[in-house]
Amino acid sequence: MALEELYREVILDHYRNPRNRTALEEPHAAAEGVNPLCGDEVTVELTFGGDVVAGVSVRGHGCSISQSSGSMMGEAIKGLDREAISVLSRRFQESLTSEDSNSESEFGELAALQGVRRYPVRVKCALLPWTTLDEALSA
């Protein structure tokens, strides 16, 4: 059933046990994102070693989709350089918003969020951590 596609086990796991919740002492990049419609909030903090992400913190509160998306995002970007992160972010956002998308394999765990495509009003929940990440990187 469609709802089971949306609320996959891995999503509920990240919702209930979000990774990388600890705030960073002196982040090199940070941003806060809010979805004013529903009140969901995400804070993203990063530190870099050279060009490569060394530390990640993703915190917030909101629905299972926005919070699991943030948690999986933190895991996915660890060890990537800025260029690789922005490519991943763009490709992932496109995969949720464009008409045809069959790129599940390239996203690993994050592919679990593809179920959200059937629920247009919830796509923005999945995107919130990513747009916040973009903001942190461009600041």
Partner: protein, 401 residues
């Protein structure tokens, strides 16, 4: 129990189990047809032309005013300002009365369970005048804290504004008793009737407040129109917040004089078609009878409270019994976020509201950023509640709680 579902075309058209009537109610055919009929026949602008169409339009527009007065037991149609809705009505009182009469240090007493529409306008006028805001809290069981209210009255507030029924908790404060106590200290008493007027018989004489505002669209009527009722002597003390056509007696190059009340508060072309729809909504509700509406609301609220209390890990925010509460029922289910609940319920054609319900200060008091809310209207039935319960059970299954 009422059986009026066939009067609501949206239900036949697939509205499903619509449980968000507290946000805005579905419209009966009578309202839609009245507006359509009017707009397609004798429609013209009001209070302007001397020609036949305009005179008829004006009569129908003024009819909405007298029907509104009748509906809430006002003694005179001139006590009724037709405006855009509750928000506009409360803003008019805050800016137009408060802006004129509040002085630095004057206290404005609100409650923590107000909708933003009964908070923000007072914050705005407080900033302008130097008045200060004060709040009454709620009790453990989700009612207004009446002892706290009495204590706050000792501080001699200049304005006391409270909701007739909380759109989040559903609780119905004893408006008449609160108004009497507040007026005894000399305060201006303002009641937000957005949720109360659609669900209970309301009589402004027995409530005894100075102002009451409500919205047409929550009362089975159209959007874009609502009512601000005020005691005539208070309306006389209130400055218009909008200037323009219709609201003047005379206009010179450098100044103008105002029309008499209530017209001085109705600048510009008013919502004429909506006024006709509002009249039809009053007629429709009066035909059912507001006592029957209230009984239906109470019966279904009790049924919903009972069914909800049987759901494991479900927490109702607000009074757990039907006493002194109406059919706006907020709840959370385990650690399922309300937005996830709303999505899951939506798959079963059950529409509930999820979020802060425009009552962020209250959500902070409750210690949660969001709840889900199911709300009841005349067309709601047991099956809607049963569908809600089944959806909640599915959510429990999906989230493994």
């Amino acid at each position: 129990m009422l059986d009026v579902r066939q009067d609501f075309p949206a239900i036949a058209a697939g509205a499903g189990h619509f449980l968000d009537s507290a946000a805005s109610a579905l419209k009966p055919r009578a309202v839609l047809e009245a507006m359509n009929q009017f707009a397609g026949t004798v429609y013209a602008n009001v209070h302007r032309g001397a020609y036949r169409l305009s005179t008829t339009s004006t009569e129908l527009y003024e009819k909405a005013r007298s029907r509104a007065a009748e509906f809430i037991g006002a003694s005179n149609p001139d006590e009724v300002v037709l405006c855009r809705g509750t928000t506009t009505g409360l803003n008019m009182v805050a800016a137009g009365w408060g802006g004129e009469h509040l002085r630095p240090g004057d206290r404005i007493l609100l409650t923590v369970m107000e909708h933003h529409a009964n908070i923000v306008p007072w914050q705005m006028v407080a900033r302008r005048t130097g008045a200060v805001l004060d709040y009454v809290g709620i009790t453990e069981d989700g009612h207004l804290d009446r002892d706290g209210f009495v204590r706050k009255l000792d501080l001699q507030p200049r304005v006391v504004a409270f909701t007739g029924m909380s759109n989040v908790l559903g609780s119905i404060p004893p408006a008449a008793a609160l108004a009497e106590a507040a007026r005894a200290t000399g305060a201006l008493v303002v009641v937000d009737g957005a949720q109360l007027v659609p669900h209970r018989p309301v009589d402004v004489q027995s409530i005894g407040a100075d102002f009451l505002a409500f919205s047409g669209h929550k009362l089975l009527g159209p959007t874009g129109i609502g009512v601000l009722w005020g005691r005539p002597e208070r309306l006389e003390e209130m400055e218009p917040t909008e200037g323009g056509g219709e609201m003047i007696a005379n206009v010179e190059l450098d100044h103008s004089t105002w029309a008499r009340i209530p017209h001085r508060f109705e600048a510009g072309t008013p919502p004429i078609i909506e006024a006709v729809g509002l009249t039809a909504a009053f007629d429709y509700l009066d035909e059912i009878g507001m006592e029957s509406v209230a009984a239906h609301d109470a019966e279904l609220t009790n049924y919903a409270l009972k069914r909800l209390s049987e759901v494991e890990q479900l927490r109702i925010q607000g009074p757990l019994t039907g006493e002194d509460r109406g059919g706006a029922i907020s709840f959370t289910l385990g650690d399922v976020h309300p937005h996830d609940l709303a999505t899951i319920l939506d798959q079963r054609q059950v529409s509930v509201r999820a979020g802060h319900h425009c009552a962020k200060p209250l959500m902070r008091v409750l210690g949660m950023p969001a709840t889900a809310r199911a709300s009841i209207s005349v067309y709601t039935n047991n099956e809607d509640i049963d569908a809600l319960i089944s959806g909640l059970e599915e959510a429990s299954g999906l989230f493994g709680i």
